[in-house]
Structures are given as structure tokens and as C-alpha cells.
Point group: C2
Amino acid sequence: MAAATPDAPGAAPVPGSPAWWADRPEPRGAPRRGRPALDTDHIIATALRLVDEHGAQAFSLRMLADALGSGTATLYRHFASKDEILAHLVDRVLGEVDLSDLDALATWQEVLAAMAHRFYGALRRHPNAVPPLMAQVPVGPNGLAQRERVLHALLDRGVPVGLAARAFTAIGHYVIGFTAQQHGPTVASPDAAPQLASFYRRLDPTAYPAITRAAATLTSVPLIEEFRFGLDLLITGLERHAPRTPAPAGP
Amino acid sequence: MAAATPDAPGAAPVPGSPAWWADRPEPRGAPRRGRPALDTDHIIATALRLVDEHGAQAFSLRMLADALGSGTATLYRHFASKDEILAHLVDRVLGEVDLSDLDALATWQEVLAAMAHRFYGALRRHPNAVPPLMAQVPVGPNGLAQRERVLHALLDRGVPVGLAARAFTAIGHYVIGFTAQQHGPTVASPDAAPQLASFYRRLDPTAYPAITRAAATLTSVPLIEEFRFGLDLLITGLERHAPRTPAPAGP
DNA sequence: ACCTGAACACCGTTCAAGT
DNA sequence: ACCTGAACACCGTTCAAGT
């Protein structure tokens, strides 16, 4: 029957899910048992490097153990499963997003644009980490810290609390969807965009008149411009719900 | 070096990529060799049923072969790899989206909203198929047919061709991102939304004041409303670029 | 000529045997 | 007490041997 209903009462929480992260009391550092031979951070950093280099599909625990000069069994002294390692890896990517200077921005529009662009940048630096990242709401320690910072900055600039949360969610979903489709591992060549455009242009115009017409018009739009277009739609849409005036900047 | 750069010149195209679909001349039917014992459509339909029931991770070729009363080697007479099967499976899900009555809608806004809701509905019916779906731009026969229909309906209602293509892309990315985060297999319990909300609410208010405040306010917003909110942002944002007037309905 | 059992080289995970 | 080699039950894929 229902096979893929994780976090069912009684069952062990799925790694990366809210319930799973909630069971992990130590947000940072603090090895779990004694003093292990391998540093937890080092394992995750190595795993991320391997995923970057070889792709999430080719990444295996044997490969990771080899890179660490260790055996696969040793990894299980630090993590309960491969999925746990991937959950930490995803949170590590989110940790690369630097939102420390959000206070310097005058308007909530700028805050949302900065958040979107920097989140987008981190995902572009780790396209092979996108599939594991998409599979979960990012509620690890770094994901929570980013969410807190952005919501705080929005509230500070007079955005109503309900709107702030919805804006964060909507823009987050857009960034994830955009990156998945345009920079996922299946399309992760540097020239993915022109490739896709020329694919559309070469279709039979009789069978696909509208697609080929659009492709002929939209010849070589840089991806970053396409990204900005959708982002602007969301932000201008939000302006109908929220004040346009920037809050007085606190000292 | 560059490990995950598919569709490189000379290399075989990655299943599901534009280049791969372009090599598949027969959009529908027509078995490839003689008269095979297994129907291609039947294989894909069975594969989708198994993915629905057991999840994409548990789905294996042995499981598929068993369900078909056959052996794994037989599957390779119809498809070159598991990825090929998944690419067809994804296109089959897109084939469930019914856009045949788009002509009855008066405005381009309604066209985009209908497309988003029906695409969203198909993904919700197959949450376990979302991970393979996200990994690729959907350019299989069914994906192309949907794209053509929507673009045609938008052009018919006076939307400029460049804007139509960008609107389709932006809304498609939003739907994909929303579904991945809210209905992916990791969070695919029926009560995922309240679960996530209560997770936020139980966080330490000292460490995460903005998150807990937002969670307390946004108690139990139905997911469909959250979906509509982001969609409305995009559509109202688009209205600044396009005419508001519906085109005269053709007979 | 078409099909497929059985093998191949892997995989994540476990555990008994080592130190 | 801690670590880990070697095994376990799988996996996607191949191919020689069957009909």
C-alpha cells in the first residue's frame, strides 16, 4: 500500500525532513560519540566536492570512503545512512549563501532580489547538488538561519508578517524550479540555453507553429535575464499587497 | 575533469535531454523492432504504476520485469537504459494534463491559470514521479504538445510572442518548484503542510523570532491557497507587460 | 531470429572478527 | 572500546546459451 509516506507515526523520520532535523539537537559541531577519527565537517565537505565533480548519481559511499582514506563501515559511525549525509550536504550548500549584509538594503524589494540572486548563485556553483536539494524543504540549521534573516529583514521594512512568509516561499520555489530546469545535471552544459533554443527552432513548423515562432524570436536570451524576468514578475506582483515605502533605516 | 556535462559532441545524448528526444523520430506508437512480445506503452504504464506505489527510489528494473512477467534482459530490447524508461514515464505523466478546452477561456490570464492548475494536478497525482520530472526540461512528445497548445492560446489572445514564451517558462518553473518542495517524496504525507507549520512553531523563539512569529500567524494555510498566491503574483506581474483586453473570441 | 538465465561489477548496509 | 574487512542482499547492464 502507501509505500512513500515518510514520517508516519512510529516510523523513523526521513533524513532531511523537518521531524528528522528536529531530532538533531546540536545545530553546529559537537561530535556525537567520543572523539571519532574522522571529522564530521570534513566528511561532508569531501562529499560535496565529490558530488560537484562526479554528479549525485555517481557519488557512492565507497567513493567517499576512498577519498577519506577510510572504509565505508567507518562512515556509519558518523551518519546512519547515505541519505543523512546528503541532508547535511544540502544544508552545507545553503550555508554558502551569504546574507550578512541584508541590513544595508533600503527596500524589501531589494532584500527579496538579493536573496533570490544569492540563492541562485549557490545552486549554480553546485548544479549536481540540486537534485538532492530539491527533494526537501531546507530546514537544516543553515536553511533556518537564512529563512530567519530574510524574514527579519522583511519585517523590519514594514512587510506584514503573513505576506513576508508567503513571499519567501513563493520566491524560493521559483528559484528552485528555475535552477532545476535550467541547470540540473541533465542539462548542465555551459551552453544549455542556446542548445534548448536551437532544439525548439529545428522542430517542424507545421507540427509546432507557435513553438518555432517563439524560438525564432527569442534567439539567445541569456539565462540570467530569463531568471530576472520571472523574479521581477513576483516582486512587482507583491507590490500590490505591500507598502512601497521603505522603512526608515535604523542606525 | 568535467564529469557531468552530457550531450557533449561525440558522446551519446542523455536520455530525456533535447538532443536525445530529437533522435527519436516516432512521436507515438510504432514498435522499433519487428513485433516484440511486450508493448512499449504497457511497459511505461506499468513502470508509472510501480513508481506511484513504491516510489522512484525503490523502483527497479527487476521489479518492473516481475510485474510484466518477464526478465530484466527483455526490457533492453525496448529501451537502452533505465533512464530511457524514466524519460518516457515523465512524458506519460505530462500526457495526463488535459488542455483540450483552452479555447473556451476568454483571457490569457485564464489560460495561464488553467495550465498551472492542471499541470499542478498531474504532479500531485504522481508525487513519486516528481524527482525524475524535475531533472529535465519536458521536451518529449507530450511536453511539446502542451507547450504548443499553451503558446498558441496565448498568441491567439494577443500576447506578444516573446512574452508568451517567457510567461510559460516562468510559470512552469514555479509549478515545478512548488510541487518539488511541498509534494516531493520526502514530504509526501497528506498532512505535510500542517507538519511543516508546527515544526516552525515549535522552534526556539529566542533563536528564530521571525520564523516563529510568522508560523504563529500563518496557522494552517491550505496548500492550494499558497499555490494560488504565488501564481497570482506571476500573472498580475505579467499584466504590466501585456494587454488586459481579451481578444475577440473566434467562432 | 528472437528471447532470457545467469553472470558481471557494482551498490548501501551490517556485523563478526580484529586491534 | 573502537574500528573495519568481508560479507549480505541487492542494483543496472551484458552476453552467451538456449529455443
